[in-house]
Symmetry: C2
Subunit: 411 residues, 2 copies
């Protein structure tokens, strides 16, 4: 079956899913959780097959870790589905008003239609994305990384059976038979068939989607995030936040890649930070290198780089306005933080920075659906259209205006 | 100045406009209205120049009418700006919540940045778009049709002077010096410079933008709208609504292009409609042609066509489900209406139809920012992402999450 045929089958399942009740959609999610656990043996076997393939192909250790399923990880995946089932229904929400001519207009949230996900070798995304899509009334085509192909096949089989078990079409959830790059490219170009494409993964995946897609896309995840340490910052708080933003989980998009520090505090702050972040490589501007003679000089390229690693680029500035200009010129619109005791500077920073999330005296690591209180998330949007920041269920809905009249015509 | 340079100047004006108060933005709109009237003579002279050029180039009468400015039309344009000034401020709206760790998160509406408009020879759009953009804190590049070039130059001069008169940069509003097709193509490809492109005009303009744009786009205006007359319809109400939807202003996007009629009522309804819509050309399916022997047979192509003219395509169906399938297969997702006395069928229709606006017993002509009570509109979105249906000021905003903490780090 071609990717186009697969997506057309997904579209055929739309009316049945869209007319399902909220309870039926939740029951589908609970059945998914149950069948993933029932089929645990098959799924873990398939995962072993993927893991041995990955080992043969010299896949990096970090990716192997993400790819690996265990009984307990599968249990966590199933629990996450139950949590999504327990979230409020994102559909049918709205407001209603009556126009002077008696026309009653209701703005109501409705599903988007057919959503395609392109992502890397993370089996948990397969289940999460299916659950968020079905909960929001959307059919979904899951195109995961080829390293996880057998795992995804096994999981999608269980997920499809779960749909059927509650009286919904299996084709609400599907995946291409062919895990090659070509299938991803085809998905990007099915204008009028795929209503929304969400790429989730590294910079090159996102870039390829943005360059090649003719279908609507929500860009996610690129994070060149900064912490700006103002002259008035509480030094210990700043040390703790920079440490957390850089080191707590360096591989993720909301980790800090850059430090911007006020000239008046740089002499004090940078040596203390150097002492504390012993395992982090610093790449600094000229002034940073004067204060820290062992620091590697940063190139202009460095300031644009999301390392996803224990490396930090550092820039010394003369004040909050210069910090804002520097960050806006280099960032990816994800998450930015200011450490300051000055309310004026905090307000200037939060107003001036162009990013999905702006923090005052807190770590950039909180940009995340769970941490924001949205429940599960399908990704973190770094664009401004449709959704920005952590995307929960509401980002997977659109609106429809339903107007009831009694013969109104326009004069 | 190249289009790119023009847009970069627009970007430089963003911080000043984004830090302006709501009052200052409203003052800018009131100054625009005042200066357009002060400069009426210059603008009307420029318009005469455009009109004589258009006459020489054999521009169709309908377009000449849209292009023509008079003292009173200019007065209406200025009043519309004052009405936009009086609308509530769309910026800074939001909700705030506190997470268990004490982090206070506020979701707040903010401007998008630099918006580009590509539109046809309608001088009122120049003023409307500038007003909606500035009111929502966005800088704007206005690329109107070349037929209105001199008019737009004169108007944009006044609008820019209005910005300066309230202490804001002239470059918040600008237009390319070159009205060729090339400038439109360049605007479509300024990724990272143009935050949002809104094309407003005919099918070929929208198609060209969707095919060529690498910047985010909101598609507007394509309207292959239908009225479905159910078996249970009130015949007189249905006649009146079809008449209104087709004939009240056939050139606009929310006019009906198609009639879908239940087999049980077709024998009665179609001859009555034929009698009433004497100046409308009917193009019908086989069953329609049996009932109305003089009817022109419709091709499959007809059923996809937005005529914007006194032509109606007609399809006879066996019930509401067939009507929904037929409409969803051919429509453009704009506006669809059902005429029925059956609540069940009304509910099936409003749930099953995939369109921005769905009407029960009312004309499709109401899909419009003013008619919906949104005040002015920048266009009618026929896409599902970001905005759908009439787009008022809120469609020109995005959100930012601003989080205040006191040293929160992620565990």
């Amino acid at each position: 079956m071609t990717v186009r045929e697969l997506c057309l089958r997904g579209r055929e399942a739309i009316p049945a899913l869209q007319s399902a009740s909220g309870k039926q959609r939740n029951d589908a999610l609970l059945a998914m959780a149950k069948l993933l656990m029932r089929d645990a043996e098959l799924i873990l076997e398939a995962n072993k097959k993927d893991l041995s393939g990955a080992a043969e192909n010299g896949v990096p250790a970090q990716m192997i870790d993400r790819l690996t399923l265990t009984e307990s990880r599968l249990g966590a995946i199933a629990s996450a589905l139950e949590e999504v089932a327990a979230l409020p229904d994102p559909l049918g929400l709205g407001e209603e008003w009556v126009r002077p001519n008696g026309l009653s207009i209701r703005r109501v949230t409705v599903p988007i239609g057919l959503i395609a996900m392109i992502y890397e070798a993370r089996p948990n995304v397969t289940a999460d994305a299916a659950a968020l899509a079905v909960k929001s009334g959307n059919c979904v085509v899951l195109r995961g990384g080829k390293e996880a192909f057998f795992t995804n096949c096994a999981m999608v089989n269980s997920l499809r059976e779960a749909m059927v078990s509650v009286g919904l079409p299996a084709d609400c959830i599907s995946m291409p038979e062919d895990p090659s790059r070509e299938t991803a490219t085809q998905l990007m170009q099915l204008r009028g068939v795929v209503d929304l494409l969400i790429p989730r993964g590294g910079k090159s995946l996102i870039r390829s989607v943005v360059d090649n897609a003719s279908v609507p896309v929500i860009e996610t995840g690129a994070g060149n995030c900064h912490v700006y340490v103002d002259a008035s910052a509480d030094v210990n708080m700043a040390l703790s936040v920079v440490d957390n933003a850089k080191r707590q989980r360096p591989s993720v998009c909301n980790a800090a890649e850059g430090l911007v520090v006020h000239r008046e505090i740089a002499d004090t702050f940078l040596p203390l930070l150097r002492e504390r972040l012993v395992d982090v490589e610093f790449r600094g501007c000229e002034e940073t290198c004067k204060i820290l003679p062992d620091c590697i000089p940063a190139t202009e390229e460095d300031f644009y780089t999301e390392y996803n690693d224990l490396i930090l680029h550092i820039k010394v500035v003369g004040g909050v306005e210069e910090a804002i200009s520097f960050i806006n010129a280099h960032n990816t619109g994800h998450s930015e933080a200011i450490m300051t005791e000055s309310i004026t500077n905090a307000n200037r920073f939060t107003a001036g920075i162009d990013a999905a999330a702006v923090y005052v005296n807190a770590s950039t690591r909180f940009t995340d659906g769970g941490e924001f209180g949205f429940g599960a998330e399908i990704g973190i949007s770094t664009q401004k259209m449709h959704a920005r920041g952590p995307m929960g269920l509401s980002a997977l809905t659109t609106v429809k205006y339903v107007a009831w009249g009694n013969g109104q015509i326009r004069g």
